[in-house]
């Protein structure tokens, strides 16, 4: 029975994850969409745990459910949008054709997803001790991937600056006050 448990967990949480994604697609209320996104993302974190990616599972929970979805909910509540505007779907001939092609590609490819890697089966049993732990991932991150890791910090910094600059921009630009203007006004008084 215990060797069946990972299989059952896989089926339950992969179904939950896909179901959450479908609810994001069909739901009209944006807040419900955000909650469905949380369900999908947390189920994916459980799938990462089944693949013994422990650090990544926790990072997924913190970053997605803790940061990104909070941003979504913040914006949904801040903008005070009407429901009928948010629930609208757009259909056109080309988009429908595109959707048909996407689904048909999935249906055509799905039976052919076969893997020629003679791998240990996915699951916690086959993995060596410490695989996917914070220590192992961190050693790789600060060793072999040190340069991409540091570049990532520049990416985040630029994203932060861009977010602040974009969100704080005034619609009508005010008259700029330079230091010289301030000094002139100071001495005039």
């Amino acid at each position: 029975m215990s060797h069946l448990l990972p299989d059952i967990l896989f089926y339950v949480f992969s179904a939950l994850s896909v179901a959450g994604a479908v609810l994001v697609l069909v739901n009209r209320n944006p807040m419900t969409c955000a909650m469905s996104l949380v369900v999908s993302v947390l189920s994916l974190a459980i799938l990462y745990l089944l693949l013994s990616a422990h650090f990544l599972a926790v990072a997924q929970m913190i970053v997605y459910a803790g940061a990104i979805v909070v941003l979504f909910i913040f914006v949904i509540m801040l903008l005070n949008l009407t429901d009928e505007e948010l629930g609208r779907f757009r259909f056109s001939l080309f988009k429908t054709i595109g959707a048909f092609v996407a689904v048909a590609t999935l249906l055509a490819v799905a039976p052919d997803i076969r893997v020629s890697i003679p791998a240990p089966a996915a699951g916690d049993a086959g993995a060596p001790a410490g695989y996917g732990s914070t220590k192992a991932v961190g050693k790789l991150l600060f060793g072999e991937f040190l340069l991409p890791f540091e570049l990532t910090s520049i990416l985040i910094l630029s994203a932060m600056v861009a977010g602040v600059v974009l969100a704080k921009r005034e619609l009508q630009p005010k008259k700029t006050h330079s230091l010289v203007d301030w000094l002139l006004g100071f001495f005039r008084t």
Partner: protein, 100 residues
């Protein structure tokens, strides 16, 4: 027994649903959610292959994808707020000033 194929199938399904969201939803916030789902679908493939090959490189790449998704969400949400300030809506069909 769950093998790599099942995980890849879940990734393909999630990617298709995310693509349908991007195609058919009309407000920018939902489209952003679809993009996040597509990035997650790529991530599950990374982690599944990493597990099957016995290395950790795929997990590190998945961490980079998560970081890129977070940065992208922050900038995109700032753009959505700006779009709302300028047009009074987040409907992507209304934001067609460049179309004439």
């Amino acid at each position: 027994m769950i093998t790599l194929q099942e995980y890849l199938s879940v990734g393909a399904l999630l990617f298709t649903v995310g693509l349908l969201i991007v195609l058919f939803r009309q407000n920018a916030i939902s489209i952003l959610m679809g993009i996040e789902l597509m990035l997650n679908a790529a991530n599950i493939n990374f982690v599944a292959f990493s597990n099957a090959l016995g290395g950790l490189t795929g997990q590190v790449l998945a961490i980079f994808v998560v970081v890129a998704a977070a940065a992208e969400a922050a900038v995109a949400i700032a753009i959505i707020v700006l779009l709302y300030q300028n047009l009074g809506t987040v409907d992507v069909e209304k934001a067609r000033n460049l179309n004439g």
